[in-house]
């Protein structure tokens, strides 16, 4: 909806700028305690200088690498597992309710288990990220299988397609529109899981740093971390969106 024919993005940017201005003023005038909420300019400055330090960039890369690794595993594995379960009547009957059940449990309570099983390194973060994201992919795959037309499967079979070929040429394009909607959620769950795992027990990663800053009452850095993570989340989201538009013609 256009407001006075002003483009949406202008309104959106104005809102963000306005928010930063209020923040800046509130802090500078002492309306809010600057020790609790340093000025926006200070926080942005801190964020930029953080990004300039090699040590912080290493933490950032760790987080990005873990998130991407978990994403690249969780999305196809979740989709294929979901498909395999949904296409077998017996497996469907037995496993579907279990997947729904596990999906509804907060994943964070399993974090101590993951530490016992995998330690606190890169692998544990990726494992927890996968665990956080895989159920939404599986559940969506259950629904997405419904949009695979039996006739198309029959055509593939009549043409002598193997299971892998059918997966690639019929299941994937048929399920993609429905699955893509879950991919974005999977990314959010995954990123949340990784950051949580980093804050909980870790030696590296942005989450780990933010945990330390919080404990040491380094508010400006904490807020700078929030800013950086937010931008990162937006970037992840945009990557997924770019993927979506590339696959649009499958619809």
């Amino acid at each position: 909806m256009a407001l006075f024919a002003i483009p949406d993005w202008v309104v959106r940017s104005a809102l963000v700028v306005g928010f930063l201005a209020v923040w800046e003023l509130g802090s500078r005038t002492g309306m809010v305690d600057p020790r609790l909420l340093p000025a926006a300019s200070t926080v942005i400055g801190t964020a930029l200088s953080l990004l300039e330090t090699a040590a912080f960039r290493a933490h950032l890369w760790t987080t990005i690498a873990q998130t991407m690794a978990a994403f690249i595993i969780a999305v196809p594995v979740g989709a294929i597992l979901g498909l395999l379960i949904a296409e077998r009547p017996y497996a469907s009957e037995v496993l579907k309710p279990l997947v729904f059940f596990v999906f509804s449990i907060p994943k964070s309570i399993f974090l101590p288990m993951f530490i016992l099983a995998f330690g606190i390194g890169f692998g544990q973060k990726v494992a927890f990220g996968v665990f956080s994201a895989i159920f939404i992919m599986m559940m969506t795959a259950f629904a997405a299988v419904e949009s695979v037309k039996r006739e198309h499967l029959m055509v593939a079979r009549a043409m002598g397609a193997s299971f892998i070929q059918t997966l690639r040429s019929v299941y994937a394009p048929s399920m993609a529109p429905v699955l893509l909607e879950a991919v974005r959620l999977a990314m959010i769950f995954n990123f949340t899981g990784i950051l949580l795992a980093e804050m909980y027990a870790s030696r590296s990663g942005v989450g780990n740093q933010m945990g330390l800053w919080g404990q040491n009452f380094m508010i400006d850095r904490l807020l700078a971390g929030i800013l950086i993570v937010s931008v990162l989340a937006i970037l992840f989201n945009e990557v997924v969106r770019a993927l979506e538009t590339r696959l649009e013609h499958w619809r």
């Binding site: 006739e151 029959m154 055509v155 009549a158 043409m159 002598g160 070929q165 040429s169």
Partner: protein
């Protein structure tokens, strides 16, 4: 059981004592009962019969998409063990094209499944599309084509590997009558140019007689062959032929059999 003599001609279809009983859970459906026939290579044969008599079941067996309960099935002297699109092409009632692929890519699909090189694929797909008169439309997506064009793409997909036999299950049933007539002539043109054996399942007696060399008449379920009629009408067939006394006589004969069987 192997009493059939192996005929060397490619495109010969031999069916002997074929019986099909569908099982779904507790229920069994006796679809085909002891069907036997032989189609010489290069003939156009239609299969007609009342709804639910097992025509589609027969076709699914012929293209290797189903397993018979008993009996034998050979194409070019070799048993049909499973789908073999290089030998046996298939066209279904609905075009069933993949909406995410262009017409050309749909036609290329069976070749892609066989890991054929891109260049070879393109050449063959172009030839097949040209044969069905759609060489101009290769880049269109299915939703950009008419029903008749979609079905022609589906035929192109069925014959792109140059199979000896083309099996068709009511390929024109979803089309309006005019398009249906045009498609029939189109199919005859393709058939005459390629010399393939065609097995054509249809509800329409007129269509069956108009197109075929022979018509197989199935009884109500369980389907048995109750007649095999040779259509000796001259070719090329014309629309006027459908109102000739001879044509009507054949049609009445088939109808009488279906009605009383």
């Amino acid at each position: 059981m192997t009493t059939m003599t192996t005929v060397s001609a490619r495109g010969t279809v031999q069916v002997e004592n074929l019986t099909q009983i569908h099982r779904s859970g507790e229920r069994t459906t006796h679809a085909l009962d002891n069907i036997s026939f032989t189609i010489p290579a290069g003939k156009f044969v239609s299969v007609v019969g009342p709804s639910g008599c097992g025509k589609s079941s027969l076709l699914m067996l012929l293209v290797g998409l189903a397993q018979s309960t008993s009996g034998e099935l050979r194409v070019a002297g070799r048993p049909v063990a499973g789908p073999d699109p290089a030998r046996i092409g298939v066209v279904f009632q609905e075009a069933n094209l993949f909406p995410w692929l262009t017409a050309r890519k749909n036609v290329e699909f069976p070749l892609m499944i066989r890991n054929m090189s891109v260049k070879e694929r393109e050449t063959k797909a172009r030839d097949a599309l040209e044969l069905v008169g759609l060489d101009e439309f290769g880049d269109r997506y299915p939703h950009e084509l008419s029903g008749g064009m979609r079905q022609r793409v589906s035929i192109a997909r069925g014959i792109v590997q140059d199979p000896d036999v083309l099996m068709m299950d009511e390929p024109f049933a979803a089309l309006d009558e005019q398009t249906r007539m045009v498609m029939g002539d189109e199919l005859l043109r393709i058939w005459e140019r390629t010399g393939k054996t065609v097995v054509f399942v249809t509800h329409s007696l007129t269509e069956a007689i108009y197109l075929s060399d022979h018509v197989l008449v199935l009884s109500a379920r369980p389907g048995r062959i109750i007649d095999r009629i040779d259509i000796d009408l001259p070719r090329p067939r014309t629309f006027e032929l459908t109102s000739s006394a001879e044509f009507i006589q054949i049609r009445n004969r088939i109808w009488e059999q279906i009605r009383t069987a």
